[in-house]
């Protein structure tokens, strides 16, 4: 699969502030973009997805923005809490040679929330 990358490996924010985690992708054919959260000692957990025909999607305290012109994806977390401390992965869902779809994950950004 093609690469999915992140701009920053670690992001430190104050509790209560908003967090923005960025991701660059390279596969224009991807039809879904997804964010996962991985807490220490656990497997990744699905947060939110956005289809390629959308540019914004909101969830509970989270917003994902998709800019297809510059192939950029971001996750915004409002009023960041200590429980948001984790590694965040962006992923793209694209077609393999067999026609099946698979996720390609980025390398992750660690979010540290300071009290």
């Amino acid at each position: 699969g093609e690469s999915v990358g992140l701009h920053l490996p670690t992001l430190s924010v104050q509790e209560g502030d908003n967090s923005i985690i960025n991701c660059a992708y390279s596969n224009s054919a991807s039809d879904y973009f997804i964010w996962y959260k991985q807490e220490s000692g656990k497997g990744p957990q699905f947060i939110i997805d956005i289809r390629s025909n959308m540019d914004k999607r909101q969830g509970q305290r989270v917003t994902v923005l998709l800019n297809k012109t510059v192939k950029h994806l971001s996750l915004q977390i409002a009023a960041t809490q200590p429980g948001d401390s984790a590694v965040y992965f962006c992923a793209e869902n694209s077609f393999m040679d067999t026609g099946r779809r698979a996720l390609t994950f980025g390398s992750g950004t660690r979010l540290q929330v300071q009290p």
């Binding site: 699905f46 779809r101 996720l103 390398s107």
Partner: protein, 113 residues
């Protein structure tokens, strides 16, 4: 509550040993996946399966095989473990038509000495 369980949290094996990693899901999901996670590399897909006895290679299948004899169980096999297979192995499952929303197990930390 949805659940994906993996047979071991920690495993230590010797070079050349045959290793079995087991994964079970209780959500009646069609899709199951095996990833390995290494620092700085994110998650890389080894194999996945979309039905019983069906499998497809992911990005890094070399040195691995899989088995899916029952819908709820997906096994990863290292035929002859090598030190470069020391890693965290993650299993996941999803519905057939929601393959982007995957449910992950807690992972197995495998060390090959």
């Amino acid at each position: 509550d949805v659940k994906v369980t993996q047979s071991s949290r920690y495993l230590v094996k010797r070079t050349g040993e045959k290793v079995f990693l087991e994964c079970v899901q209780d959500m009646d999901h069609e899709n199951m996946f095996w990833y390995r996670q290494d620092p700085g590399l994110g998650l890389r897909l080894i194999y996945f399966s979309y039905d019983v006895k069906m499998k497809e290679k992911g990005d890094i299948p070399e040195g691995y095989s899989v088995s899916r004899e029952k819908k709820e169980r997906f096994s990863l096999i290292l035929e002859s473990a090598s030190t470069n297979q020391t890693s965290m192995y993650l299993c996941a499952s999803s519905l057939l038509d929601r393959d982007y929303e995957q449910y992950f197990g807690p992972g197995t930390r495998l060390t090959v000495t």
